[in-house]
Symmetry: C2
Subunit: 271 residues, 2 copies
């Protein structure tokens, strides 16, 4: 998907909401467990009930891998379903991959060719040749880790070089030599909003994928105030606050209501 198509959808839905699909057999409603593929049944119902308020879905690949072959099948069904029924949706494989060139190329093949994801999250530690193989696919995106939402972000991402530039800033600067804002986004955690403005100054044109609103404690208003740009420039992810609102028969309806509530707040703050 290109940037124009993403922006069109944001404007049409008046939303920058991304819904995380961290689907866990221990957390989904018990009545789904009798389905052939409970994970896909859950995802399909969540997608159908939230898609009117949502511009992106982000399956968290770890949750599928933890279920082995069955999990991989559920993931493939989920991305095919999105692709067929809602081709306007921006899809994110939240995989945090990254390896030497010939290996990153294989990950790119997995997520961009075998499954038709629009984007994949990539870890920056191994540098340029671990990232660029993902960029060889036209209209596919790399979402590079910049500043993450977890506590461990403080271990290395804030290490400053002799000029006082933190590692996450070096990453966001350097990566702009590899791709334009039409193919590269950055992950920037909502729990660290005091740095969002600083990063917006370094990367004025790029989209930021912002996790950490809700369960992890980030404020939507603060994120939108600090991080938006002339093209909106943010996708705000929510997972637990949407998909696990209820584990009864009304789980999909409850997810829809939570998504609508967030969308309305986005509409109020952004449009």
């Amino acid at each position: 998907m290109n940037k124009a198509a993403l922006l069109e959808q944001i404007k049409a839905k008046r939303s920058v909401l991304c819904v995380g699909l961290d689907t866990d057999l221990e957390k989904i409603p018990a009545h789904l467990l009798k389905e052939d593929d409970p994970v896909f049944a859950f995802n399909k119902a969540i997608i159908d009930s939230t898609v009117a308020f949502t511009v992106a879905y982000k399956p968290n690949i770890a949750f599928y891998e933890s279920m082995g072959v069955k999990g991989w099948q559920s993931l493939e069904k989920t991305i095919h379903y999105l692709d067929e029924k809602y081709p306007e949706i921006f899809t994110i494989a939240d995989a945090k991959r990254g390896d030497i060139g010939n290996t990153s190329k294989m990950y790119a093949k997995a997520f961009f060719e075998n499954m038709n994801f629009d984007s994949v999250t990539v870890a920056p530690y191994m540098g340029e040749d671990s990232v660029t193989p993902f960029l060889d696919f036209p209209n596919k995106w790399v979402i590079l880790l910049g500043l993450t939402s977890n506590k461990g972000a403080f271990d290395f991402q804030f290490i400053e070089n002799a000029e006082g530039e933190a590692l996450f800033e070096s990453v966001v600067k350097k990566a702009q030599e590899w791709a334009t804002a039409d193919q590269l986004m950055f992950v920037l955690g909502a729990t660290k909003t005091e740095h969002l403005a600083r990063l917006r100054a370094i990367a004025p044109d790029h989209f930021f994928l912002v996790p950490g609103v809700g369960a992890q404690g980030g404020s939507l208003e603060e994120v939108l105030k600090q991080a938006t740009n002339k093209d909106f420039g943010v996708l705000v992810n929510s997972t637990r606050g949407i998909i696990y609102q209820s584990n009864g028969l009304d789980f999909a309806q409850a997810a829809g209501i939570a998504a609508r509530t967030l969308q309305q707040e986005m509409e109020r703050l952004l449009f």
Copy 2:
């Protein structure tokens, strides 16, 4: 597997060889393509012909993921085969994973519970809580990226803080607060031997997994000279130099000869 068992095998085989299983349908012998599962058939033959000279196998997970559900099945068969037939072998899921705590826990489940890998490679960018979930599994290992063998390593891993300490050194120092040498190894590329001694000084007790000998240009002699410690302390990986020696009917035999040649060089240099 605990460290004592690994050391016992190193001494018995007089080898620190790890064979990478980057199994690619485009590179394996054509006659295997008529098998039900060509990838597993290739891996099984390579393992059987090299195991006498080898202490560890390292499937590169990207290559299996790039084949979707089928690839995941081949991977599961490969690890089960190693586990059943050669339980003395140290197995490495070369996956370069790492995410927030609840997600790393799912990756750990994928590789340590559903598949019985002894270890997984992990990327350090997200810090402590992205690494420690893997350490909750007794006798399972984290192999953390320190200094990688690729060109992109120079983008971020060499950034120095105000005290002149490079990022890869900070990573290797900090991670030792999270785990002992009985559960934590580091990836250190053979192409950067001038730094191996420096890293050995920082981490005297930890095993180093050293990729990059052979196709990537690293020297075995230099690696062993710089990186060994009192417990050997290295696993030296070779992939293309062993598994793709021949793509004819003699591919397994050729791999065995290449593995034996490397083992003999290791024996000469180390024992």
